[in-house]
Symmetry: C2
């Protein structure tokens, strides 16, 4: 046991890493000591900023003795190879959601981490957001009676953000299922305790120019009788952040007059231009978000016997039988501190995180079940679900 910062190596210096930069920069419990990235420019920027080593390959990063744990922030389809490499090198792993695209890959990753005796944490995901964490603990406490129903919805411009071509191909993990549904599934499973039983869903792929699922809606049942309603549209029309106090997904206050910006920025771009535009959002090129609130993934309401809990970027609105109140989920000192809590807990104290590899595999199963149910018109029984490993409130 030591209180030294966790020495982290970063695999992939793209958009996902960019979104973690404010966390890493603000949290003294973690120190970035190395990175791997194919682009020289990104490696140089990393070395300038953090003074560590910029490696060309994941293998070199994993072999770096300065690295205790690897944060895998590469594109979805590369997660499997990179997790296997890190496990083989005996490093603890924080891997971006989704754990993998195929269930077979997810299984291999979970086995590899277990065999190597390293912790595998799937995150960040919006289920780490402090208001979700707070709501999960309130529900577990039983203070408001039994959890009965969850409604989650989110309307964003996801499909019109700059994309590499494979991000618009479902079979390669593109579209809203593997990138966005996974958040909502994580959030809802976290609140309901994890053990989903059945799901029935419909999906929409409505823009022939971006021919992947851009929307879905689903009903899920959970062990114990709770059910959940999930809806997502990434088609960039209605923006449900107006129901989240005009705070965006990353905790930033949204600017007036920015309506339609995502679609406008893409107009008349060909796929090469668009992929290039995406690189302006990577490390060394982009700017970080200035968050003033917790992150969120759209409106979520959890109905219990004696209160509805409505998540906001700043906490939980409690709509009780005769009174309403507010329970704050404090922001900061840095965004995503709960991800670092999980990393430090695992690496320094051998505490299993709430969202292990098994957890990520279970959420991935739900993504596939949504596609399967939408194709068949039938409900799909879930077989690989698990509880959150953090069953007891620990605060």
């Amino acid at each position: 046991m030591t209180s030294d910062p966790v020495r982290l190596g970063v695999a992939g210096l793209g958009r996902a890493f960019m979104l973690m930069v404010p966390t890493f920069d603000a949290d003294p419990r973690v120190k970035l000591v190395a990175a791997a990235a194919p682009r020289q420019e990104s490696r140089d920027a990393f070395e300038r900023e953090y003074g560590g080593t910029g490696h060309e390959t994941i293998e070199a990063l994993c072999a770096d003795p300065a690295v205790e744990a690897v944060y895998i922030a590469t594109p979805h389809q590369m997660h499997v190879d990179h997790v296997l490499a890190a496990a083989k090198a005996g490093k603890h792993i924080l891997v971006e959601k989704p754990l993998a695209i195929s269930m077979e890959d997810a299984d291999r990753m979970v086995s590899a981490a277990r065999d190597a005796g390293v912790h595998l944490i799937v995150g960040p995901s919006h289920s780490f957001d402090p208001p979700v964490d707070l709501a999960a603990r309130l529900i577990e406490s039983g203070e408001f009676g039994q959890l009965r129903m969850i409604q989650a919805l989110n309307y964003t411009d996801f499909l019109y953000r700059p994309r590499r071509p494979e991000e618009l191909r479902t079979e390669e993990g593109g579209g809203v299922l593997f990138s966005q549904a996974i958040h909502q599934i994580d959030v809802v499973r976290r609140l309901a305790g994890g053990m989903a039983e059945n799901i029935f869903a419909m999906t929409g792929a409505w823009d022939p120019k971006r021919p992947t699922e851009g929307a879905f809606t689903a009903l899920m049942t959970f062990q114990g009788g709770c059910f959940a309603n999930l809806t997502y549209s990434g088609y960039a029309h209605f923006d449900s952040d107006i129901w989240m106090n005009d705070v965006g997904e990353l905790g930033q206050v949204k600017k007036a007059g920015s309506y339609g910006g995502a679609r406008r920025a893409l107009m008349d771009l060909n796929p090469d231009d668009e992929a290039r535009l995406k690189t302006t959002r990577t490390f060394g090129s982009g700017t970080t978000v200035d968050a003033a609130h917790n992150e969120h993934f759209g409106p979520v309401i959890a109905l219990c016997d004696r209160a509805d809990l409505k998540l906001t970027p700043d906490g939980i609105e409690v709509f009780g039988d005769t009174e309403r109140s507010f329970i704050e989920a404090p922001f900061g000192p840095a965004p995503r501190r709960t991800v670092i809590d999980a990393l430090v807990g695992a690496v320094r104290n051998d505490e299993p995180p709430a969202q292990t590899g098994e957890w990520g595999l279970a959420s991935l199963e739900v993504c596939h079940a949504i596609l399967q149910s939408a194709a068949s018109g039938q409900p799909v029984a879930l077989q690989r679900q698990c509880r959150t490993s953090q069953q007891e409130p620990t605060e």
Copy 2:
């Protein structure tokens, strides 16, 4: 053809009629000439107010030669007998939703009206709300491309409003299915053109003291590929009117500080006291609502290819590809003028209304299918659906 007011007889002077009083009082196209009610006090109040005849029985009302059309606003379970009586007497009929409780009764009512050659209009229902009517016409026009998905949700205090005992027994038409789901189904069917194909649903009956369905959630598909997500909770916690500009269902501006009022008013009442409390909301006892906006049934978003249409009490927010705009649905001169439009159109001009008996039967089928799907855990195929009879914009 004549422009004389339609001479209307009212069957039932309870809560449903009370909610129509502002409409009848303000709209010169209709004149109340008679009523039937079991309570002397209500009949006296009617005669004082309108100068017509207060009958003791429906049969007497239907036999009254002054009556051209009958508005049936009696409890759900009585609709069938009263519609049959009015049809037998050759009177046109406006019957409150739901048309009936059982499909068999609904079939008998539709047949009786057809055989008698009278118009049968099912309403008012929130599908008559001017913003719904406007949205349906905008969708039909094709201006925004194809309709893809509808999300409708409503969180109210329905289950804790004062109830007669049968209003808390599902098999007698109690609970949120037959009183509330029917509105949401009417709204969604109206927007999607009527022809629902399949539904998958879950219901919640969570308060043992009021042991009927108080919540449900459902996914529906429609001919043409559109799908819809419907959610309702009447458990009086979160109130979704905060997402409707703090305007209540009846178009009234909601008072601050009224949170929890429904549950507080019921505390410590026994069923007899509660049924008595309900009579304070009938004609001659209660007060009417002061509406300043159109009525609504909670947030509704219709996703089309080139815009999401979000209904508000005052019109439609159009979230387009790069711009947003607002299309007003004017309020007044009286609330529910579209119901009188339908009545006058049918009685004076022989125009079939948008919501005929067949329409009401189709929406009732969906209520039953929700219960059936929730019980079986399987999707239910709908067999009795119909289009709105008003296929062409008539403005």
